[in-house]
């Protein structure tokens, strides 16, 4: 075991550091370029240097680097320290691009990958529907082939970024006669068209981080389908897998713990500082046990992934562990803010941002529930762990037995 990054990686860190020192913020003449232009040029250089778009083939504007999670994390560290523009975040790069690279036709990769990676076009995801959250099989949105266009009707929900997105990758039922998963296809749909109406969805916090998307005779070309007709469910699995990992990141948990300790130090309980209260101390230490176990398990996964080994059941647990920690932290914070629990939460909080005041903690108190929903509810996670992880038999319902 060696928790230092090791000589090779320390050198790499210096290399990245030097690159940033030279190129960000833009130097000389470029310093006066419009911000976006400066960013774009920097990105090109960073890609050329192999720091960005590492998993993307060169032909699609990537730097096509061998997978190395440690280098990736070093790059993230250094870029964020230097406030340099990193890989374009968002569901497009996180979920669509990997899917296209795995299952897309070459013209689709040509047309969509590079502009998505460079942030020239943005995407939203159309999986969930009011009638079906976890249960894609009960998907209702229909797509009919009319001439050489798909005509799509239905409703999507929990769609983040739908307002700004240029395109949506979504699941629609294209084979009405086929039952359950078999009838679903994976379509790419332009958002800026009359048939697409976006309606913000308000959370209990008062903010609107999600949307509903109403599709009324929305249209998309016949060949904007990823994978074959009826294979949409399979195509989407890969993507879902990505989502699980990304949400399971442990950084959030450690940050929340630090925020809680600060809150406990600044809060009063029974006339003294809350951090001196034995019950609070016990609860903080108990929470830290979960947080460190989660953090160090992240090291384990990082190590195995960086060697191309399967981290096993641990990886299936990330989401649930993060959710559990988030909920415990939220409850503890809620107790610490005491009477401020009467106040309205701030409406929206940047994902991952740690609250610095009572109303921010109340937002977290509510969001710690919302998060449990975002990537599939806890019960779905438990099914995955129980069935794939522990090898327990699948539930009869999921097999459709009870339905028969």
């Amino acid at each position: 075991m060696d928790l230092s990054y090791g000589k090779e990686y320390e050198e790499f860190r210096e290399e990245v550091h030097a690159f940033l020192a030279e190129h960000w913020p833009p130097q000389g003449g470029e310093a006066d370029l419009p911000r976006e232009e400066g960013k774009a040029r920097f990105r090109k250089r960073a890609v050329a240097a192999g720091y960005l778009a590492r998993s993307i083939p060169r032909q699609y504007g990537g730097s096509e680097q061998p997978p190395d999670e440690i280098r990736a994390s070093i790059i993230r560290d250094e870029f964020s320290k230097a406030r340099a523009p990193g890989d374009v975040r968002g569901i497009g790069t996180m979920m669509l691009v990997p899917t296209l690279l795995e299952k897309g036709e070459s013209w689709q990769k040509d047309q969509f990958v590079s502009p998505t990676v460079n942030g020239e076009i943005t995407w939203c995801q159309g999986y969930s529907e009011p009638g079906s959250g976890s249960d894609l099989a009960s998907l209702k949105t229909r797509a009919e082939l009319q001439g050489d266009e798909w005509v799509i009707n239905g409703q999507k929900i929990w769609t983040t970024n739908a307002i700004n997105a240029d395109y949506m990758f979504c699941l629609a039922r294209t084979e009405p006669e086929a039952s359950k998963h078999a009838g679903i296809s994976y379509l790419l749909v332009p958002m800026k068209q009359p048939g697409v109406e976006v309606q913000p969805l308000r959370q209990m916090t008062g903010g609107s981080d999600f949307n509903q998307v109403f599709l009324t005779d929305a249209r998309t070309p016949k060949n904007w389908i990823v994978g074959k007709r009826g294979e949409g469910w399979l195509v989407s699995r890969a993507t879902l897998k990505h989502e699980r990992n990304s949400i399971g990141a442990t950084a959030q948990s450690t940050a929340v713990l630090a925020g809680l300790v600060a809150l406990a130090k600044s809060s009063k309980r029974g006339g003294r500082s809350a951090i001196e209260d034995p019950e609070i101390r016990q609860r903080l230490a108990a929470l830290e046990g979960y947080v460190r176990a989660h953090e160090y398990s992240g090291y384990r996964q990082l190590t195995r992934n960086s060697r191309g080994q399967d981290p096993g059941i641990l990886q299936m647990m990330n989401k649930l562990v993060s959710t559990n920690i988030g909920q415990e932290a939220a409850k503890l914070a809620f107790d610490l803010i005491d009477s401020d629990g009467l106040l309205d939460p701030i409406a929206t909080r940047q994902m991952g941002q740690i609250p610095d005041a009572s109303r921010g903690w109340i937002n977290l108190y509510m969001y710690s529930l919302g998060i449990a929903v975002a990537g599939g509810t806890g019960n779905i996670q438990r099914n995955v762990i129980g069935e794939r992880g522990l090898g327990l038999p699948r539930d009869a319902y999921a097999q459709g037995k009870a339905a028969k």
Binding site: S128, P130, G131, S132, G133, S134, D135, A137, S138, I157, W158, L201, R202, Q203, M204, G206, K268, R269, G270, E279, Q327, D335, D338, S339, D340, G341, L342, L343, D344, P345, I362, M366, L369, G370, A372, V373, T377, G378, N379, R382, Y397, A398, G400, A402, A403
Partner: protein, 358 residues
């Protein structure tokens, strides 16, 4: 031994429940919840006509002469309906004047409060989560100067009972000089809160205020416990209804054993605690020795349970439970109000321990 409701008490709860169902169904409640003031005069008028404004006041002051248990049962019925308005502050204000006031003060205020002609409220909290009489620091010299927090619907109130240093109570008229009302951005939009800033405001002491203050606090704890019970009970019902209608994998999700057991556990967290607030309310009038501790126990236990149920209810509704449009949020936020108002469960569990001599 009779630990059940009388037919009159059942009728009272049904009447209030029926009234709220007719006058304040979900859509109406939402309008008020999302509206400017959180107050609907005609609705309040109707509640007053039902006698809810003076339920616990003696007949001589135009009240119904009922007991705390009856008032608590009404609080539950109103809580189930998510009733907006000044009921809580109003009830505590009139109780404070009844228990702490001079004959003159009683004659001056109670009849008008009983008929809803005037609305009352209470100003108890101070900065730092100080709610208990022994914690009050607001000095009452010949004038009042200082701040009180979390005053229920102060902007509507004509008379406000204010807790002052020494655990005493005084009366102020909101319209008086040197009193500023600043709205607080509270989470429960069905029960709005204001901050009261006194700058040399004149006041009228309650001669028996010091004795009345803890009783008023205990009454508040009972009413909050009843409301919190209602919130938890209502949320469990909402979850059960949802589980019976929402389908997944071709069956209603109520078929799934995991969810079924989660809902059973929620019901087990909720239903038994009904008896806890009943007992506390009964003790308020009939078992004085136990009343303060019973009130603290009911408030801390039930508010903790209801908050826990509220969180589970969001999850049991899937994504929808997290939205503004879903009614879960209304009772979730009422549970938040009940939990923090007059002191969090932690505070009252510690009081439970102290009052037992632990």
């Amino acid at each position: 031994m009779n630990f059940d409701l009388s037919d009159e008490q059942r009728l009272l709860q049904e009447t209030v429940g029926q009234f709220m169902e007719n006058e304040c169904p979900a859509p109406v409640l939402r309008q008020i919840f999302e509206g400017e003031t959180g107050f609907e005069p005609t609705l309040w008028k109707g509640m007053v006509e039902l006698g809810l404004a003076g339920l616990h006041l003696p007949d001589e002051y135009g009240g119904a002469g009922l007991e705390m248990i009856d008032l608590a049962l009404v609080a539950e019925a109103l809580g189930t309906a998510g009733a907006p308005g000044p009921f809580l502050g109003h009830s505590l204000a009139s109780l404070a004047i009844l228990l702490g006031g001079s004959d003159e003060q009683k004659r001056a205020w109670l009849p008008r409060l009983a008929t809803g002609d005037a609305i009352g409220s209470v100003a108890l909290a101070e900065v730092g989560g100080l709610w208990q009489p022994e914690e009050w620091t607001l000095a009452a010299g010949d004038r009042l100067s200082g701040t009180k927090l979390h005053v229920p619907q102060a902007s509507l109130a004509e008379v406000i009972v204010v807790g002052v240093a020494g655990g005493d109570l005084v009366l102020v008229e909101r319209a008086g000089d040197g009193i500023e009302v600043r709205p607080i951005d509270g989470v429960d939009r069905s029960r709005r809160l204001d901050e009261l800033v006194f700058q040399g405001a004149s006041f009228d002491p309650l001669p028996h205020g010091r004795a009345a203050a803890p009783r008023v606090r205990d009454a508040g704890l009972v009413l909050l416990a009843a409301d919190a019970f209602a919130a938890g009970d209502r949320l469990v019902q909402m979850c059960v209804e949802y589980a019976k209608t929402r389908e997944q994998f071709g069956v209603t999700i109520g078929h799934f054993q995991a969810l079924k057991h989660q809902l059973a556990d929620l019901a087990v967290e909720s239903e038994p605690s009904r008896a806890l607030y009943w007992y506390a309310a009964h003790a308020f009038d009939h078992i004085p020795d136990e009343a303060p501790r019973a009130a603290a126990l009911a408030k801390s236990h039930i508010c903790e349970r209801s908050m826990q149920i509220a969180r589970a209810a969001v999850e049991a509704h899937g994504g929808i439970g997290f939205t503004w449009e879903c009614d879960v949020q209304i009772w979730f936020k009422r549970a938040m109000f009940d939990r923090a108002f007059l002191g969090t469960p932690t505070v009252h569990r510690e009081r439970v321990a102290q009052l037992a001599g632990w």
